[in-house]
Amino acid sequence: MSEPPQNIIPGSGWTDAYNIEGIETPETRPVIPLGQKTYEENQPRMGFFTDTTVCIGCKACEVACKEWNNVPATLMEFTGNSYDNTGELGADSWRHVAFIEQRKPIKVQQEAGVMAPATEGDGDFRWLMSSDVCKHCTNAPCLDVCPTGSLFRTEFGTVVVQEDVCNGCGYCVPACPFGVLDQREGDGRVWKCTLCYDRMKDGLEPACAQACPTDSIQFGPLDELREKANGRLDMLHEAGVDDARL
């Protein structure tokens, strides 16, 4: 990052995020860039490693996320899609655990002889609890298309929507390759996972990760998580779970 300019000029790409309460003088207060499109690694980048192999589908993460971030409940109808009535990620669901019913053997149970199917093939069943969340992309298309600067890259390398800036244009919604972003009904603005920006500023892990009883959701510096994830992948391959992948 280059030296900040002495005066903040509108449109220069520099702005002052600490001037809200006017406590500090312009000479002393730190300046952070707005509209910075890619992440500059001047401090550890934070993220999630979601290990679906240990997710038990309790959805404590979904509830913890909504409680902490004041995300409203949407009393939708029953979906008929196994035990999952959340449906998909969106403005009112920032964490989503899908219940995918698979006709695959649960390796450990099968080998231990725990499952004794009445007829051939009946025991081949498992649930894939597929926990999903915003990826906080390295090159985030939502960030690129946002015309207001509402979407910004934080000092932790995460991508966050500022609800007081978002004008509800919705450009980011089709830009996201993962279907994370959506406009809230009756509000118009876009809402998504902030990786609990407020909690991170206080040195806390995100609400979903803290609520997770099996450590399926792990939070930390991205480098460490990548190392952990590769180690876990090796462990699973060694245990014979050949289709495990990152």
């Binding site: 509830v63 909504k66 409940a73 009393l75 029953f78 008929g80 009535n85 959340t86 019913e101 009445a118």
Partner: protein, 401 residues
Amino acid sequence: MYHLGRKVREKLANSDDPKYRPILDLAWDYPTEGPHEEPDAEAVLREIGGWDENDNALSSYSELKDDGSTACGCWIYCGCYKDEVNQPARRKPWTEQNWVAPEWGWVWPANRHILYNRASADPEGKPWSEEKKYIWWDEQKEEWVGYDNADFVPGVAPNYVPPDGARAEEAIRGDEAFILQADGKAWLYVPVGLTDGPFPTHYEPHESPFENPLYAQRANPARQRFPRPYNPYNPSDGDLGAEVFPYVFTTYRLTEHHTAGGMSRTVPHLSELQPEMFCEVSPELAEQRGLENGGWATIITSRAAIEARVIVTDRLVPLKVQDRIVHQVGLPYHWGSKGVVTGDSANDLLGLVLDPNVHIAEYKASTCDIRPGRRPRGHALVELVEDYRRRADIHNGGGRS
């Protein structure tokens, strides 16, 4: 609570009214710590663990006396501050002690990890098996030794026979391990109390489409039944009309709701995750009865008919029992008429049958019929259930066995 008590006592300090004596005479003097002056948790633990008249922490409940010279918060926790050490906070690794790990934390009573562990030795005090030895009588030391603290009166030899007129623990023989029973015996068979048992066996549920593969007696003969017009029973296997209720159902819980949902159905963030009553059926049963995933079904017993949304899933497997296939209906039981989400209650389907010892209802397995579509409303609903009762011959004594 501590500060409330402290403030009340401060206000009453100068009063000589005898009615305040109990409050002023309370020992309410914990040391405090931290910015909020919270009472010191270790001091509370030490008080629970007990002390003697010289303010030494007690090491075991056997040191408690009935003459007022000792104090203790709860007898089973007596000794948890033994040797002035916070015993539950101990964290000695298993690699540095025996496999019972007596110095990792602390367990009540007296840090005994297995209760009645005298039973791990035979009447002569020798381990039943060398491989599984746990507590045994040491002839030289004349005491019980082993990996755990013996749950037995120390120094009482296996051949001890109480003299006539002995009382309390002295009246228990050296070969009777169950020291909390008046006679030291295990009470598997008792002259009074239990009306069946004590060993597990298999009986079919009160309503079952099958015979008992173990005995001619199908269901528990000691079960409590209440056959009366408002509590009719479905006919079981072999009874007239059993074919009217050909399927079995079981009720269970989901992660998101608590028991019948009275508390969790008022919480929007939980209710949205499981918004509607549903039933689960196998693809085979769905085909047999014309049920569609996401559609509606009506489940009927001789008590009631309820409606539920349908999940067709491979998780529900048709069971092959006694060379017949029986289909299962799975029912979570979290719904009712109030709350931010509502639905029919699975418990309405169940009849009242109780187990003979603790009188808990047999509420997890029964028989039913299932058909596609929502249930009728009003009098038509009564008619539907009545029709099933007629077909199952319930008014003429069907289902009373």
